[in-house]
Symmetry: C2
């Protein structure tokens, strides 16, 4: 089962990589761009019985390893 975990910095946490890309886009003439934020997207295949099982495993992985929940949020998508 294909599982996608998106990890993002929480609102209010400074995102220097996003700021850098925002600045670079402005320099290239894309002046109509705002609020650029960068996250990680982790795509994996999990052997699971069903999507509920896969989601439970993905949450456990996100909490223990993939996201730093002090400063990051995560979302999980299950694509069968």
């Amino acid at each position: 089962m294909k599982v996608i975990i998106n990890v993002f910095l929480k609102e209010g946490v400074l995102d220097p990589q996003g700021k850098a890309i925002h600045h670079a886009l402005h320099s290239l003439g894309f002046s109509n761009v705002n609020d650029v934020r960068i996250g990680k997207q982790i795509v994996m295949h999990i052997d699971a019985i069903d999507s509920i099982d896969a989601e439970a495993k993905a949450i456990e992985m996100a909490e223990t390893l993939l996201a730093n929940t002090v400063i990051e949020n995560y979302s999980i998508e299950i694509a069968i």
Copy 2:
């Protein structure tokens, strides 16, 4: 208009970050995980007339700055 650009290494291109996470997950006991790959997700707001205009701008940004199209693919989602 909220635009999400996902940038991924192409199939066949070595993904050491994905391999490292795969290994770490196995060490933590998540043995039923395979094919871990890591990408960037860039979220931004674009001032655009409509979603077609926003997508055209996002493609231009991805081609010129956000993705290295030699080794990376990208996908674009428009969320109004």
